[in-house]
Amino acid sequence: MVGALRGLRARPAIRFDDVYRGLLMGAAAVVFFIVVLIAFESFLGARLSMKTIGWGFLTSTEWDPVFDRYGALPYVVGTLATSFLALFFAVPLGVGSAIFLAELSSQRMGEIVSFVMELLAAIPSIVFGIWGFFILAPFLRTTVEPWIVAHLGFIPLFSGAPFGIGILNAGIILGIMVVPTIVSISREVLLATPKSLREASLALGATQAESIGVALSAAKPGILGAVILALGRALGETMAVTMVIGNTNRLPTSILDPGATMASVIANEFTEATGPIYLSALIQIALVLFAVTIVMNALARLLVYWVTGGRRDTAGAA
């Protein structure tokens, strides 16, 4: 097509048009290559570990650099436990706030809450870490966790010693960090559901709560997308978790136990990894993390896209 146009317009301008387009295209191609390069680089780095350790990597609980034994199961469990704990706190609060913003609040209140969410999303994760370590941890140690042990301690999941740092602390911090994602996307999705749904249910005599329920069921896939996006974020979050989880290589069995996540073990041990297999094992963790986040993101975006009909994608809100 370019060839056909070349004859029609003035010569030099056309030629520079192609150059210009080529430059922009080059910039776009850079992004594509960066992602390919990240995948390739982590694959290359992880090859040694994949070869020597094999599938035991994800099922073994023994992480012992001295004997070059690397089982990442404690970190996988730590990652899943903290992330789901985060969702346990963040989803009800986040969806509730989104309903508040989309259906109930006055303009002014809504603006305040939205502004707070934006600020919360802008705070660097290291600051959440320092807050969790110096403020939340002592509070959990002296107040919350002794209560949990006293009243729920008979359940293994809630037993143990009140350290303050550990899975629970990391879960709370992660919950705070992913709330803005859930609120902003759920709000968009709720606002995208047709107003007629609400009007129809109200006309049939539904209470306000029941009509919100109708809107919610229409927005469900999109909210699920928001939750998955938040989960993807929680799975990969590093600094805050590194500071509050306690960093042990033992398999956590209670939410009071200290542990480590896949991201936090990379942050902690990467510069100290002395042997080639040690380093490779850490890179393999990064590779797994990379793969998981790709799947998560694709899934979340698909769901949000489905609900909003492509009018809005999550990249702007994220």
């Binding site: 056309i14 387009r21 922009l24 706030s97 305040i112 919360l120 290291i126």
Partner: protein
């Protein structure tokens, strides 16, 4: 009917409570940042070097300069590439290639920053043979790209079609139309997006841990380890000295002021641009 009314009240009350609860953490964090960090905030904190262990006081001059250098270099690479790619997607982005770029941009925005750090380690640190400021910049530049690209695309698409048609009708070639008509119209939005990306990146810690590493001394050499504010906070917060912990709080306060002030101000301008 009574039960339904009570249920209705309960649901609405629960939503109010939820909205109140999600606001609380920010209030606490800001209060503690001010309470713990404000006392250490003085001129010396910005102008002095870190003191050796055991001596009180000292500042973060090298970390602040290091952050500026590393973030500056990252922005110098990410802004042209990101804006270029964003303009490409908005102006030419219809084919399969553009879809692929869009998808990879989305993927990139979801990649954990620690993974980007690992990749930068493999791409820069290993070939160079040592930790360096340059490697940190590469990692941060990669993290800036998705925000810049998607916002640039959005902003360029907001420029009315009639602008382009008018310019093309006057005989301007495509590149001139974009460069001299479309981009100036979209400039405020693009600039805010870039600064937002830069502000976010300047708070990142994880990708710097094993790229720029950190440095207790003054260094402006790009091929050597360099101190940064986030890594300084991390190191000082984990240290067993009260004075260091205090300085970590002050550092965190400075970092938050830097990042939130920029992004808060920008949000307001973006809203104004969008409303226009």
């Amino acid at each position: 009917m009574r039960r339904r009314r009570i249920w209705n009240m309960a649901v609405i009350a629960a939503c109010y409570v939820a909205a109140g609860l999600v606001v609380l953490p920010l209030v606490f964090i800001v209060a503690h940042l001010l309470g713990k960090g404000l006392s250490g905030l003085n001129l010396a904190f910005f102008t002095h070097m870190p003191k050796p262990v055991g001596e009180l006081g000292g500042g973060v001059a090298n970390a602040i300069v290091g952050t500026l250098v590393i973030v500056g270099m990252a922005a110098a690479a990410a802004v042209p590439i990101g804006v270029g790619a964003g303009v490409y997607l908005a102006e030419y982005g219809r084919g399969r290639f553009a879809m692929m770029v869009r998808y990879t941009t989305d993927v990139l925005s979801g990649v954990p920053s620690i993974v980007v750090g690992v990749a930068a380690y493999g791409l820069v640190v290993v070939p160079m043979g040592r930790f360096s400021a340059l490697a940190g910049s590469v990692a941060l530049a990669i993290l800036m790209l998705p925000t810049i690209i998607r916002s640039t695309e959005e902003m360029v698409l907001l420029v009315p079609r009639s602008y382009r048609e008018a310019a093309l009708a006057l005989g301007a070639p495509r590149w001139k139309t974009i460069q001299q008509v479309v981009l100036p119209a979209a400039r405020p939005g693009i600039m805010t997006a870039c600064m937002l990306a830069v502000a976010r990146a300047s708070g990142e810690t994880a990708p710097l841990l094993f790229t720029a590493l950190g440095n207790r001394f003054w260094s402006l050499k790009l091929d050597e380890p360099m101190a940064t504010l986030p890594v300084f906070i991390f190191d000082y917060a984990r240290a067993p000295y009260d004075d260091w912990n205090r300085q970590a709080w002050t550092g965190a306060l400075v970092l938050v002021l830097l990042v939130t002030m920029v992004s808060g101000l920008l949000r307001l301008t973006v809203r104004r641009v969008r409303a226009r």
